[in-house]
Amino acid sequence: MSAAADGGSSSTIPRLGIDPFALDFFDDPYPTHQELREAGPVVYLDKWNVYGVARYAEVHAVLNDPMTFCSSRGAGLSDFAKETPWRPPSLILEADPPAHTRTRAVLSKVLSPAVMKQIKDRFVAAAAAKVDELLGRRHFDAIPDLAEAYPLSVFPDAMGLRQEGREHLLPYAGVVFNAFGPPNELRQTAIERSMPHQAYVAEQCQRDSLSPGGFGACIHAFAKNGEITDAEAPLLVRSLLSAGLDTTVNGIAAAIYCLARYPEQMARLRDDPSLARNAFEEAVRFESPVQTFFRTTTRDVEISGNRIGEGEKVLMFLAAANRDPRRWTDPDRYDITRKISGHVGFGSGIHMCVGQLVARLEGEAVLTAFARKVGSVAISGPVKRRYNNTLRGLESLPITLTPA
């Protein structure tokens, strides 16, 4: 690391050689997260020519100033003002107010707390049945058999998707989250292989593909009453198909991985199943399934005394902020009783995850079933990481359950 001038505009901003999208970084990001936080409130990453923020205060500040740190030039490294996006931009994630305000309001209503009350019983029953089935097997792989199988058993139905072709959903989401990263092999390979997944998703976004009563049909209903246009509705359905499944897969996987590694926390959960929702939330902080997002500056701006010019990409390390000791006591400890309001695992501000209530519903449902039915969770085979430019998750997590 060296402190150096960058065109005279950022004389005190430390420049680092770190590549936060390299496979060896993904294997163990925590020492590098610490290095990023300790280097300064703002850093410059020479590898990809971007600014970075890794402390909680600065990440939170950038997230909550969407007019200065915009999303319409892309929430990934690619600057939509300079490069053609790999797919038509999202009308919500990759949009700024006032355009964003209207589309956000629609998805907020589609995924509101009142809607969650309607779907809750179904989601809870499916989780209980899944955990019963797995307890019968004892040994299984918690990634495909639980973290993927459970959301796949509830979310596509809640969307109103037909049965055929659902195998495209996870690969499509994998492409979307790889594509936020830099033009490395992960991103390039994902996009090269994306055509069949894109074709599937484009078709499912159409009104006629979506069964009545689902989230997808609900979005199209807002086109009927004029809050959005007929052309916008399919793209908003696409947003839920992009971000509604893989994220919860990795969130649930994170929670199971935590409970398997920290048996004393599993014991507390068993003693008090009402902690299930917080145990899931804490796993989202601790593992941060969505590790990073980018913003682009719309003007010259100062962050904590450091000047950044207009049109610069700023990389927000959500995961590093979620373990910043300036904000969190004992941040590297998974503690299911932690008071966790304010973590940025779902982001913060106007772009904060609009599907967070679905994620919590799924996470709470699985962990409540665990709390009531499972005695202990043990890792019983080699744990394999799955590499993605944005998502932190596992490929394989062999576990053994003992019944309560």
């Binding site: 907020s108 009142a114 973590h343 904060m352 209530l357």
Partner: protein, 107 residues
């Protein structure tokens, strides 16, 4: 500094000092009032910072916005005419003495 009185579900009253400009939600969290969960951290997404506002204080609050209104339809404890989300109540000098009753459940 304005004070807010929170009434717990067991009728215990807790008087706390509030910073002007903070939300009632943040004030509750700062004083360890566990009945306020605030899962979304004050971004008007989750409806887990629900409070019942003492009738005398209702007219002094800014009116309920459309997004707050939608969220209040999904509170875990019953929505009443005096239901508000505490993240949307901004503390001003005029709110000195505000009384908020905490619901039984937030999730």
């Amino acid at each position: 500094m304005p004070t807010i009185t929170f009434i717990h579900p067991d009728n215990r009253r807790q008087r706390v000092e509030a910073e002007i400009g903070d939300s009632a939600m943040r004030t509750a969290l700062a004083h360890g009032i566990d009945e306020i969960v605030a899962e979304c951290g004050g971004n008007a997404v989750c409806a887990t910072c629900h409070v019942y506002v003492d009738e005398a204080w209702l007219p002094k609050l800014a009116p309920v916005a459309a997004d707050e209104d939608d969220l209040l339809d999904g509170t875990a404890s019953e929505r009443l005419p005096n239901s508000r989300l505490s993240c949307q109540i901004k503390i001003t000098p005029a709110l000195d003495g505000l009384v908020l009753r905490l619901p039984e459940r937030q999730t």
